[in-house]
């Protein structure tokens, strides 16, 4: 038993087992970190009140405002009364139950999945939950991070545990070196196109291989973030020196002797030699192009150098029907070059691509260039700290000179809950994670892209790679 080789996910699972489920019951796992935001929590707090329950571990819980917050005029009262009520409910609940909260205007406010890692709260080998499917982001540190629904939020608040059925494990092996202009976002879009939106269902994905090892923490977060788009419950990357380097010195990272103990444990986490995965997928990083979506689910993607596919190219009748509907919604004709698709808006932001590295990469491309006249560009940093950092580096000025709108931190146009929405029929190149019908506004059309493609697209006005700029 002790010598049995284990995967990273299995190790974290075993080390959090409070009670083993018997007779088909799920295992009970301890939760080390619970992140909360305004949209999926109010009903959970009401549930606690109705049952007369309290919060077991406020010291493992933290709240921030992100989904439904404005990205302009944040010093003024929120105009929409329903949104204002929701934000006020979070503030009230945090106060009543003694939870730390970072509200609009606070330096630690921002998208919940940017804030956790930034504070050093997200660490290898811990369990993280949040009432948000993109909680998978935190898996980049070698944490087991799971998105949950509101009933589960209430459950974790009351018990600091979660009943979970054991997952299967899938290795996503990405070997090789990415070519210039190809990024983590292209890796994950290619993975989803390969295994489909349901391909990861029931699995925890572990991203492995030389291409993953060479990625920064920001890039690993981009990849793990979209694990849910392949249907997986979580995505993970084994911790290594890059992980430790990122964490060291952060506000809540362990210090002194605790740091040494932590690193020793973290080094024991990577998947053992000889451990087996229930499934394996292989991707060659050497030949990967920038990837973009053409349809209305994140699995409907192609190389940027490719064309809009014909529905008849999908043998599966469901995929075929989905492609037909998607093309109609997206107003696209099969055979059209992806690079000929004209966009109206470029959105740089979301928990997928709003960290400092993403802003730097996009700024480097647009610096000194002129924005396409017909394109509107929105830049929404992932957190107030990212925004400040970018301003210290002068990136805000580059975006403003280019003609982009420099906004305050939040989820913004990724899900269009706040006023940052596309108009019906409008088409966006978006660094976010979902291209669902109406996701960014009623009737809006979304192409998912990397920050580099977003920047090049803002210059040329059609879906473009940075290399297209050099050819001119």
């Amino acid at each position: 038993m002790t010598n049995q080789p284990l995967t990273l996910a299995e190790k974290v699972w075993n080390d959090h087992l409070v009670a083993k489920g018997e007779n088909g019951a799920p295992d009970l796992l301890f939760i080390d970190l619970h992140l909360i935001h305004e949209v999926t929590s109010p009903q959970a707090f009401d549930g606690l009140r109705l049952a007369g329950r309290s919060i077991r571990r406020p010291d493992l819980t933290i709240a921030t405002e992100d989904h439904n917050t404005p990205t302009v005029d944040i010093d003024k009262p929120i105009a929409d009364p329903t949104s204002r009520t929701q934000i006020e409910a979070l503030r009230y609940n945090a106060k009543e139950f003694g939870i730390r909260i970072h509200s609009l205007g606070d330096v630690e406010q921002g998208i919940v999945h940017v804030v956790g890692p930034q504070l050093g709260l997200t660490m290898p080998g811990i369990t993280v939950v949040c009432g948000d499917s993109h909680t998978s982001t935190h898996g980049a540190f070698g944490a087991l991070a799971i998105g949950i629904g509101t009933s589960e939020v209430e459950h974790v608040l009351a018990t600091q545990t979660l009943p979970l059925k054991p997952f299967k494990t899938m290795a996503i092996n990405v070997e090789g070196t990415l070519r210039k202009g190809v990024t983590a976002k292209d890796i994950i879009l290619a993975v989803i196109a390969k295994i489909g939106t349901g391909g990861g269902q029931g699995y925890v994905l572990e991203y492995r291989g030389s291409a993953i090892r060479s990625l920064s923490m920001e890039a690993r977060m981009t990849i793990c973030n979209m694990s849910i788009e392949a249907g997986a419950r979580a995505g993970m990357v084994a911790p290594d020196e890059i992980t430790f380097e990122y964490l060291k010195g952060r506000a809540h990272a362990p210090q002194g002797k605790d740091w040494e103990d932590a690193v020793e444990y973290w080094k024991s986490l990577p998947t053992d030699d000889g451990a087996t995965f229930d499934a394996e997928v292989f991707l060659d990083a050497n030949i990967l192009d920038p990837f973009v979506t053409w349809g209305t689910n994140p699995g409907q993607g192609v190389s940027l150098n490719d064309v809009v596919p014909a529905p008849s190219s999908f043998a599966d009748p469901n995929e075929n029907a989905a492609a037909q509907r998607a093309l109609e919604y997206m107003d696209l004709v099969p055979g059209t070059k992806m690079k000929d698709i004209k966009v109206d808006t470029v959105f740089l932001g979301s928990c997928t691509n709003s960290r400092i590295e993403d802003l730097r990469a996009a700024a480097a491309i647009i610096n000194g260039k002129k924005k396409s006249d017909h394109v509107r560009m929105l830049v929404v940093p992932g957190s107030a700290r990212v925004r400040l950092q970018a301003e210290q580096e002068g990136l805000d000025q580059i975006f403003k000179d280019f003609g982009a709108e420099w906004r305050f931190a939040g989820c913004s146009m990724c899900l269009g809950m706040n006023p940052d929405q596309l108009a019906p029929g409008e088409r966006a190149a978006s660094t976010s994670n979902r291209n669902f019908e109406g996701r960014q506004g009623k009737g809006a059309r979304t192409h998912l892209v990397s920050p580099l493609v977003a920047a090049a697209t803002a210059i040329r006005g059609t879906l473009s790679a940075p290399s297209d700029l050099e050819e001119n």
Partner: protein, 199 residues
């Protein structure tokens, strides 16, 4: 949660795959802080289309949804389950459910039965031949029945037991409270703590 054993309700054939939670309930409806009253939000943008299935008289009072594979993908919003429940749906049948959606449904007493793709097609055809026909969902036998057509469905055994008994999850977990306390006592010191706040 009410106990669920057997239920008979109007079947609705939703011939679509990849019905994501943004389609089930668009984000704009997530601003509400209540847990009920989401019936108007269900499939809000599709319902603008007069041809949409729930706008047809026979299906207006639908209670058993039969959908294509990969139902409930995307966002973790439990509002998707509340909207289906508030509209009147008691069960959804599909060849494949997204994990979080299925988990959320189980907490709210909405049955998610996994059926084969060929049985999905059979049910669609049978419903469309007789719009407004009822489907019986038998959670004890794990069978959906429409006239002569009987279709087995799969559901996680633990969820099924909880639904049959109408049990509350938190109450079940708190029976293990001693184990939680024991686990807490041996957690290493380096583990993250949100309080006191450090900046």
């Amino acid at each position: 949660m009410d106990k669920f054993t057997r239920f008979s309700g109007v079947g609705v054939p939703l011939r679509r795959s990849n019905v994501d939670t943004d389609q089930i309930i668009p984000a704009v409806y997530l601003k509400r802080i209540t847990k009920t009253g989401f019936d108007d939000a269900l499939f809000a943008s599709w319902r603008n289309d007069p041809e949409f299935i729930l706008n047809q008289d026979a299906y207006k009072h639908g209670e058993v949804l039969v959908a294509g594979p990969d139902f409930g993908t995307g966002s973790s919003r439990e509002h998707a389950v509340w909207a289906l429940r508030d509209y009147g749906f008691k069960a959804v049948l599909s060849a494949k459910f997204a994990d979080i959606f299925r988990g959320n449904a189980g907490k709210q007493g909405l049955v998610t039965g996994e059926i084969s793709e060929s049985d999905t097609e059979k049910l669609w055809t049978a419903i469309e031949a007789n719009p407004g026909v009822k489907i019986e969902i038998d959670l004890i036998k794990k069978v959906a029945t429409l006239g002569d057509l009987s279709v087995p469905f799969a559901i996680d055994e633990y969820t099924r037991w909880r639904l049959l008994e109408g049990l509350d999850d938190i109450g079940l977990t708190l029976r293990d409270e001693a184990a939680i306390t024991a686990f807490e006592a041996k957690r290493p010191a380096w583990m993250p703590k949100t309080l006191p706040a450090r900046h």
